[in-house]
């Protein structure tokens, strides 16, 4: 490890009398920034960004800085508990780890014997880098059912990029794109996946052209050279409109198309269906602006698309991802410096190998819930949540008896929350591992205390595609909390899977690192490792796709009986697809705009973070507010055909007056009753999870675009 010679590190230590500083890797979100953790007498006193880290260059976000407030929170669960009252009664008793894990193991083995391993569903939320270990556990247990956010978050990018060009193309901010198209993403707030706001910000300040695609005028959209405020859910049409311009004006990279593309002719025929004038009608974006954006993006080299989850939580999930990749590819920006690079992971046993997907017997794989309906998801070990709720409630196609959620709060984060509640109420047995007893955990039989990133050793960014690996070093212990990795390693022995696991989890880290010829103890002494960086690898080796080409026409999707070319589908609820419903629910509701400090359902009990944003807020255009009799700060009701919740009005003129934008994942830990207000402001009481509303290949639920009406809560609205 590099000596911490940075002047202010030494000075911080002296001035404050810290006795130790640990270089580690934050995990307060999906992100992963280099951090310095200062301690005194074994207690974390200060967290700062690591100035030498190539990911964040010393900067950090509010969540990372507040990590110690999470770790030491007085409400934190610090020992296993067993429920002693009815579900949702909030009555718990402390038990030992042995009692907890033996109970869980006994249940697992019983259900496996009686109903088959597929009756046990493992689950995680946005993933605390526990995804590989959870898949490993599930695969060796023999269940094909791991319920994650993967159907509508990141999973689609991985799945579709593997189909199209072999791996996820990552924006190469280190080489400064000259044009950045930010599409459905607010990375300066969310710092998502392989990206941080800081390098984006730096590239922009160095003069990159900026195109923003967002229904809302974010600060990014404000700074854009061209802002395309599209009608929510019409991304695929807009992307096709831009591709139409690029094809008809021959702005594409001719050599790339000639030598490295599969399916050019059928793609060109399909693209003819989307001339800019028609796309204008669909998207509300003027045809001339579509042309301008397409020309700017195609003519500026290198250019890159900064995409986000908003395009995936739609009925067009997989096709949105593919169309944006087509824009990257056809403009010659794939695998070039400053474009989007197919980075290599260092030579380790990767998440796929560690996840032991090949060791799930084929007979079990075939039982994957929804695997026949959502073929793309099923082939990437991803399932649609409704399939699980149906299996619990209707026992179709077979009963699911046990849920094991690890850092997941589906009552808040999955569509149609009433149905989720009924399923959690009904399921025979549920275990949860988390930091707090969340509304979901309140429905469990056993809750295990999970460790935060400050309390574990791990290979940080193990699963990412930017090519870096960074050591996460354990700094503290809190109560009896254990990392999910250690917990599952222990549990695996108790369910008879010990031969696939280790005596302790450090040995697993050694196994992951072994191909590089280093151990965890050695890696822990390093700052980071990075895979070899090489550009335009496809020129000599082709793409890692069945044809070896960049597949516009997907041979895999064709094989699975899906449309091999992307298409635009109207959102399942919209002024166009459901005009009758639109009369009663006259606004387009979009959900899930990210707020600083929160990571989905997390951090609402962390004082420094909750203070950034005390109440759930819904953005309403001032004209709309006037029409509905709503004033700034009023509590308003938002209602869809499925439910009604309350949030506070935030009048916002930066979007079309026909749009309303509500926040997601709200609950109120300060409410001490076991429900913790989960049904008050939870936008997923309004969202729909019908199979017909989901992406046909990926099973993504359409939680971002629906119809709603709004009214002042006091009932004195205009109508």
């Amino acid at each position: 490890m590099t000596d911490l010679t940075h002047a202010n590190v030494k000075r911080e230590m002296e001035v404050y009398g810290y006795d130790r500083v640990v270089r580690s890797h934050c995990r307060m979100c999906h992100g992963g920034c280099g951090v310095l953790v200062y301690t005194r007498k074994g207690r974390v006193e200060k967290i700062a960004g690591d100035p030498d880290c190539p990911i964040n260059h010393g900067t950090l976000c509010s969540k990372g800085l507040a990590s110690a407030q999470l770790a030491y929170h007085p409400d934190r669960l610090t020992h296993p508990v067993r429920r002693i009252g009815p579900k949702g009664s909030g009555r718990w008793e402390r038990i030992s780890w042995d009692q907890a894990l033996d109970t869980i193991a006994e249940r697992m083995l019983r259900y496996k014997t009686d109903c088959g391993a597929e009756s046990i569903v493992m689950g995680y939320g946005t993933g605390r880098e526990n995804e590989a270990v959870i898949y490993r556990f599930a695969n060796y247990l023999g269940t094909p059912n791991v319920l994650t956010a993967g159907h509508f978050c990141y999973g689609p990018r991985i799945a579709t990029s593997i189909l199209t060009c072999g791996t996820n193309p990552i924006v190469d901010y280190e080489n400064h794109p000259r044009c950045i198209m930010v599409w459905g993403n607010n990375l300066v707030i969310s710092n998502p996946d392989c990206y941080k706001g800081e390098p984006f910000s730096v590239s922009l300040n160095r003069g990159a052209k900026l195109i923003a695609v967002d229904p809302r005028l974010t600060r990014i959209a404000s700074r854009a050279d061209i802002w395309l405020p599209l009608r929510p859910g019409t991304d695929a049409a807009l992307a096709y409109g831009m591709l139409h311009v690029i094809v008809t004006e021959k702005l594409y990279d001719h050599a790339f198309v000639e030598n490295h593309v599969h399916g050019w002719e059928p793609f060109c025929r399909r693209v003819q269906a989307y001339p800019p004038e028609k796309v204008e009608e669909i998207t509300w974006v003027p045809a001339e602006k579509i042309r301008q954006a397409a020309r700017l993006f195609a003519a500026t080299k290198p250019a890159a698309i900064q995409w986000g989850v908003a395009i995936e939580q739609q009925v067009n999930c997989a096709d949105n991802d593919r169309l944006l990749m087509f824009l990257m590819g056809l403009t010659g920006n794939i695998d070039v410096p400053g474009g989007q690079v197919l980075f290599r992971t260092p030579r380790i046993r990767n998440v796929g190998q560690f996840g032991a997907h090949r060791d799930l017997p084929e007979s079990q794989r075939r039982k994957r819930l929804g695997g026949d309906r959502f073929r793309l998801a099923g082939n990437f070990a991803i399932i649609n949540p409704k399939c699980v709720w149906d299996a619990i409630l209707e026992e179709e196609p077979y009963p699911v008896k046990m849920l094991f959620f690890i850092s997941s709060n589906p009552l808040l984060t999955r569509a149609n929350a009433r149905e989720v509640y009924r399923a959690l109420e009904r399921v025979d047995f549920m275990a949860v591992s988390d930091f707090f007893i969340t509304p979901t955990a309140e429905m469990a039989d056993i809750v295990l205390p999970a460790a935060t990133w400050l309390e574990m050793d791990y290979i940080g960014d193990f699963w990412k595609r930017h090519g870096y690996l960074l050591p996460r070093r354990k700094v503290i212990e809190v109560g009896e909390c254990r990392s999910d990795h250690e917990m599952l390693n222990d549990l695996a022995h108790r369910v008879g899977q010990g031969k696939h696991w280790w005596d302790n989890f450090e040995q697993a880290l050694d196994w992951i690192l072994e191909p590089m010829g280093i151990t965890w103890q050695e890696f822990e002494q390093m700052d980071y490792v990075r895979g070899e960086v090489e550009y335009q690898k496809y020129k000599t080796r082709g793409f890692s796709t069945p044809t070896g080409k960049f597949e516009l026409y997907s041979t895999m999707l064709e094989k699975w009986g899906c449309d091999p070319l992307p298409t635009y589908r109207e959102p399942p609820e919209s002024p166009v697809s459901t005009p009758e419903l639109f009369k009663d629910y006259p606004y387009i509701l979009i959900t899930g705009a990210r707020q600083p400090g929160f990571f989905h359902t997390e951090n609402r009990q962390v004082p420094w973070l909750r203070e950034l944003h005390p109440d759930p807020e819904v953005q309403i255009h001032p004209e709309t507010a006037r029409r509905e009799g709503i004033r700034e700060g009023d509590w308003v009701t938002i209602e869809s055909p499925r439910g009604r919740v309350r949030q506070r009005a935030w009048l916002f003129a930066g979007m079309d007056p026909r749009i309303v934008s509500a926040q997601h994942a709200w609950w109120f830990p300060e409410k001490r009753d076991p429900g913790h207000g989960w049904a008050e402001s939870n936008i997923n009481l309004l969202t729909d999870n019908a199979y017909e509303s989901c992406d046909p290949a990926m099973g993504a639920t359409s939680v971002r675009t629906l119809l709603c009406r709004i009214a002042p809560e006091d009932g004195k609205g205009a109508s």
């Binding site: 000075r11 001035v15 967290i47 900067t59 507040a66 706001g197 300040n205 004082p607 420094w608």
Partner: protein
């Protein structure tokens, strides 16, 4: 005398509020009291197009601070280097400084009955460290400490 001050170019602010939490971590201001505060301004037309900008509220360390004049117990003083210090020990929480501050940059801890404001992390500055908010936390790199002879204190600019 060189005057240290914050330079914040709010044009570049993304509204991530990291500076607010960095300040909390350092100064441990009580709940509801913010020594630096980021707020999203309502969209407005600038240069022929709609713009969203973030504003920053923080003590400007005025040359002739009205808060110091208003304080009945002389808890607010101007150092020789121009930093305006609010000493919470003598403060009675009367709130006169809050009224006097033209920028709304002073907060009141109702429970303890004391006022709080940004003292430019003078306890860090005096020991060779940067103020918490300006210590390379900002992902936009838009908060810096500057030292200059000029008249005004914290410069908060827009474009």
């Amino acid at each position: 005398m060189q005057k240290p001050s914050l330079f914040i170019d709010a044009f570049y602010c993304w509204g991530c509020k990291t500076c607010e939490v960095a300040c909390k971590q350092e100064n441990r201001a009580p709940a509801g009291v913010k020594l630096i505060r980021i707020h999203e301004d309502a969209p407005r037309e600038i240069g022929g197009r709609m713009q969203v900008l973030f504003g920053v509220t923080v003590c400007r360390h005025c040359e002739d601070p009205p808060c110091a004049d208003a304080c009945p117990v002389e808890a607010i003083t101007v150092r020789s280097d121009g930093i305006v210090i609010l000493d919470r020990d003598p403060c009675t929480g009367c709130g006169a400084c809050l009224e006097a501050c033209p920028y709304g940059a002073i907060g009141l801890d109702d429970e303890a009955g004391v006022a709080w404001k940004c003292n430019l992390c003078h306890h860090r500055l005096d020991r060779g460290l940067l103020p918490a908010c300006a210590d390379n936390v900002c992902l936009a790199h838009c908060i810096h400490l500057q030292t200059r002879a000029a008249a005004s204190g914290a410069a908060v600019s827009g474009k």
